[in-house]
């Protein structure tokens, strides 16, 4: 039999028992729908992370803190007892232990691989006062050179300069009464903070530029001179303390060697790229879990395929005998039922994907009007054509494999038994 005839015959055989075929295909399409959505969501979220953190992939900035400072598990004492290991830093049981003392910072500075230390002053600003009299909270951070910023208007801050200046998220321009990024440049942002003595202080900073914020950007980025001044005013000792400092790596050394060097000195270092990787790993993990659930749905639908085909073989026993009597080979009978099985997977996955694309359109339009607003061209769900083709191929293969036993049974039917009159 020609392949095209084989396919069209198998396809028209599907139409003989319409309800049964419909239900089988429905089951497969539900499995495919969930599979496509979970894979598409993973792809979309990964794209989102890349859009947010992709710029930082090669930035030479490491966050350095004491080893174990992030490991609070032991601190609460509700885990299982752990044996003491002199090579391992003790888990932090008192938050003050996590702070870097001046001697710690000196130690970091002495490590050859460390080029430069940047202090991430984090002054706490109570609120910013907008011209209309409203008060807004403003998460703020210190300007760190070398980290890419997506400037939308004005200019970025300079290294070690720009006293009295800030850059601000473009979403915050109304805090200076501006209606656009351009409009905000040169305007003064009025801030209020509480100093170490508990006194309320006011200050003003001139906006030098606005930026498109990513996941890790604050609303306000203060030049390092003012950031240090504000943070010092807030520190009880007059000296700001740090949970972590930022360090740049010497270019002669690799990422891993750098981390090892710091580890030898009981410090741990993580780069911005590490955040990206960690997030991607989490997404992949969640995606795998979701895909596993849809795998169960697909498995159930495959049982339906086997059942459907066994029933079809039973119903068409006489026809199979006739085909054999008319010169059809066992191989042809096997092929007819295998292709029929594959077609169940094909149509089921095509309909499931149509549903998934519909869901994708709906979800993406809701997402881009809400939390993805302003991030152009980013889809939360991203079922790529490549992914779709892969899913159809995989489903058709799975159902074809599921059809092997019924198809084999059909091919082994005794044509004479099949052709008995009664």
């Amino acid at each position: 039999m020609r392949s095209l005839d084989l396919i069209s015959t198998a396809n028209s055989n599907l139409r003989r028992s319409k309800l049964r075929t419909f239900l089988t295909i429905l089951a497969i399409s539900i499995g495919t729908f969930t599979l496509a959505l979970s894979l598409g969501l993973g792809q979309g979220v990964r794209n989102y992370i890349t859009s947010q953190l992709g710029d930082y992939q090669n930035v030479n900035i490491y966050q350095v803190n004491k080893e174990g400072a992030n490991d609070f598990g032991g601190a609460f004492g509700n885990g299982d007892p752990q044996e003491y290991d002199p090579n391992k830093s003790a888990a932090v049981t008192d938050f003050s232990q996590a702070y870097l003392r001046p001697t710690d910072i000196d130690k970091i500075q002495e490590i050859d691989a460390v080029n430069e230390i940047i202090f991430p002053y984090a002054p706490a600003i109570d609120y910013a006062s907008a011209p209309d009299g409203k008060k807004y909270t403003v998460p703020s951070s210190t300007f760190i050179p070398d980290i890419p910023v997506r400037i939308t208007a004005g200019q970025n801050l300079d290294k070690n300069g720009d006293e009295g200046k800030v850059t601000i998220s473009r979403k915050y321009v109304k805090l200076v009464g501006a209606s656009s990024s351009e409009d905000a440049i040169g305007k003064e942002l009025k801030i209020t903070y509480t100093d170490a003595k508990g006194q309320t202080q006011e200050d003003g900073l001139i906006i030098k530029g606005t930026y498109e914020p990513t996941l890790i950007d604050s609303a306000l980025t203060i030049n390092s001179i003012d950031a240090k001044r504000l943070a010092s005013a807030q520190a009880p000792t007059g000296e700001p303390t740090f949970f972590a400092v930022l360090a740049t790596k010497d270019s002669s050394i690799s990422d891993q060697e750098f981390k090892n060097k710091l580890s030898e000195n009981k410090f741990s270092a993580s780069s911005l790229a590490d955040i990206n990787n960690t997030l991607n790993n989490i997404v992949s993990g969640v995606q795998a879990a979701l895909a596993a659930f849809s795998g169960i749905a697909i498995l159930a639908s495959v049982v339906g395929v086997v059942n459907t085909l066994f029933m079809a073989v039973l119903e068409r026993t006489r026809e199979i005998g006739l085909f054999r009597a008319l010169g059809a080979k066992k191989k042809t009978i096997f092929g007819l039922f295998s292709v029929e099985a594959a077609l169940l997977g094909f149509w089921g996955s095509v309909f499931g994907l149509i549903g998934a694309y519909g869901a994708q359109l709906a979800v993406n339009s809701i997402a881009s009007n809400t939390f993805l607003k302003g991030i152009e061209g980013l889809q939360l769900l991203n079922i790529t054509p490549m992914l779709a083709i892969m899913i159809v191929g995989i489903m058709a293969t799975i159902t074809m494999v599921a059809g092997i036993i019924p198809a084999f049974k059909a091919s082994r039917l005794d044509p004479i038994e099949a052709l008995r009159n009664e």
Partner: protein, 233 residues
Amino acid sequence: MLSIQSVTKTYGKKDNKFTALDNVSADFEAGTTNAIIGKSGSGKSTMLHIMTGLDRPSSGDIKDGEASIFQKTDTDKWRGENVGIIFQSFFLQGNDSVVENVALPLKLKGVNRRARNKQAMEALEQVGLLDKAKNKAKDLSGGQKQRVAIARALVTKPKILVADEPTGNLDSENGAAVENLLFELNQKLGTTLLIVTHDLDLAKRCSRVIFLKDGQVKKDIAKKHHDEGEKNA
């Protein structure tokens, strides 16, 4: 020439053993008309199934010319190319059109749609059903259905046409028409006819009649140009 050589067919084992065919031998010359006659259960269908390679003998062999049809690489292929089979109960695909039914053996053989439809129409012309080509098979009368089945058996231009009680499900008028058609095709195309029947009148029209009883050949009568001669008493 198709020859049956000492074919025995047994069903079951030991105590339940049943011999459906008992050491049957017969040669069928090309272009002849042959009837196999016997009561129900005498082994006629079994013989026909083995002769067409649909079933295998317990012992003995079937030869097409010099070669065993079972030793050929592919018995199914041999049957598809050399034998057309007609069944008592037609076995048409009711929901398919008449022409699709007739073209089915060619489709199974891998002939393209155009060529097979052309050949199917030719076969339909031979059975006088050209005007029904587009009808659904299930809408035809019994006699027409059997003629479609004959066209389907013919479409591969087989050397041998095998019919298992072809008129068994038909009234006498339609039965006669189908009989006439079979003999006409033998005349026109030189196809060897092998008709299984329990209708003595039909058997008498054949040049050779084999009487089966309890799986054994009881009589094998061949007539030559209207003189009746008896082989094997």
